[in-house]
């Protein structure tokens, strides 16, 4: 049993040691259960890791892979929660926020960042509808309206594909959903050129995948202030 649970788990993430992270989570769960392992142990550690990771990325001391390992650990932990709930005969852990829609914009085939965002959003309790890669603007809005989602998160890696985000902005506006359907944008290109967020019509972006949950909270609240959910009036 470690003396410093949070520090030990944080270290496994920086060391990209998924196996040891799982051992620590299992050890916590043996005492407190897997739901507690996620809520009371992993989530606070990931929140702190996110801040440290962002600043270390900025200073070239952390890697994308460490964020990827964190996302995998989150997925592993959520899977264990589901298994534990099934084994105990209780209802599966329900999402408490959302739904929200995610996808890579039309012509973009770089799923890594989007998958990391999906993992962290799910860990934070969001109901994520992941549409995959190369998603047309209309398909994003159709999915959001069908699910009554207030936020769409769209990922693009390159400048050339990021330009297609403008089509999504236009589609949202054309259907009269401005403000009620918030547009979160992310991907490598926005780190190089942050001015693109506004230029392409994004309502916000996040520093890292781990900061996506806070961004979605903010955008969801803003949407609620501006009217009913898309599709709620149908």
């Amino acid at each position: 049993m470690p003396q410093n649970w949070p520090e030990e788990l944080t270290k496994t993430i920086f060391d990209a040691d998924r196996a040891l992270a799982n051992e620590l989570i299992d050890a916590w769960a043996a005492e407190h259960g897997y739901e507690s392992a996620v809520t009371d142990y992993l989530c606070p550690v990931l929140e702190a890791f996110g801040e440290a990771w962002a600043s270390q990325i900025e200073n070239a001391q952390a890697s994308l892979a460490q964020g990827y390992v964190a996302a995998k650990i989150a997925e592993d932990a959520l899977a264990k929660v589901l298994i534990a709930q099934e084994a105990s005969g209780r209802a599966p852990r329900a999402a408490t926020k959302g739904p929200v829609v995610l996808g890579n914009i039309e012509d973009d085939y770089h799923p890594l960042g989007r998958k990391m965002v999906a993992a962290f959003l799910r860990l934070a309790g969001w109901d994520v509808r992941d549409l995959g890669v190369d998603v047309a603007a209309a398909a994003f809005v159709d999915a959001a309206v069908a699910a009554r989602a207030r936020v769409v998160g769209v990922s693009a890696m390159m400048l050339t594909t990021a330009r297609n985000v403008r089509k999504l902005r236009e589609e949202i506006d054309r259907r009269g959903l401005t403000g009620r359907l918030q547009l979160a944008v992310g991907g490598a290109v926005y780190k190089l050129r942050p001015e693109l967020v506004a230029e392409l019509g994004g309502d916000g972006t996040a520093l890292t995948a781990l900061h996506a949950a806070a961004l979605f909270n903010r955008l969801w609240t803003r949407s609620c202030e501006l009217g009913p959910a898309p599709g709620a009036d149908r």
Binding site: A16, S63, L64, Y109, L159
Partner: protein, 341 residues
Amino acid sequence: MNSLQRVLAILKGEPVDRPAFTLLLSLYGARLTGASLRDHYSDPRVYVEGQCAVREAFGIDLLFSPFALPLMAEAFGGTLQHHATQPPTLARPACASAREALVMAMPEPDGQPALRYLLDSVGLLSKRLAGEAALVGMMPSPVDLPAMLLGAETWMETLLFDQPAALALLEQCDGFCAAFGNAMLAEGATMVAFTANFANPDMMPRKHIEAFVLPALQAWTAKIKGPLVFHHGGYRLVPHLDLLKDLPQVVAYVLDVRDSLLEGRRHLGNAPLLLGGLDGSALETFNPETLKQRCHEVLRAQKSDPRFLLASGCADIPLATTPETLSAVRAAVLEVAGVAL
């Protein structure tokens, strides 16, 4: 002094008649010829016409073979997505796992149409340039090639969580990449540029890089029978040069626009050529005047560096960039040299 002589002189740190410069206009050739991107990226004759048009229009000293690394994926059985405004991208990789890739036979360097296209682009362009300009062949290193075979996520996962399979795949890719790099040189490339994003600590943890990614990269570069250029591939290099310098055969580095050229020189010493100063993907946001000003700033800052070549880094310069803007780079270089336009 012609462009090739100028580039070779700069490589040796010898005096030149004017600063050398280049722009990554591998894609842009299609705008000048009006060819469809499908033809541009499948017919070497079309590609070469585009590069000759680029050379004529903008006077760059160093040209590039197609910067379309996913074509390699197609040669291994992957599926590409073709686009109207950018090079093809990988839509579906050939293999679902490293274990699957390990039982796949590696092709000969010229054994598939996509590979033949890449090599013929070098061969035909080299003949057309006839010693007038330098030519760089572009390829992924063996630490990046697996991302073309498996997709970047699966390759990252393999490197992180299945090191025996990662090592075996690195070894398998080493032979192919050595043969391909040497084939590019044999076709007439002055140098071969490679990406090694999975050896970059912005992408992978240092301990993995030090343990087995960097040794694989070192082993491969040692097998190349000519000069190599380390291309930043969209990631910063300067903060990591303590790891990434001193690779066998590497004579030049293309730095990211976020990298400090002066810091880069400090880390690398006097020997290698440094390329950079301009963010290729952002050039469309400049007008001719602002770009000229930017070039002057970079050239002024690098004035005392005899082994500097003004270059665009990052990905291909977007098609939407105007020819007038691109012409400003040459204008700035000639102004610095005091040459009448």
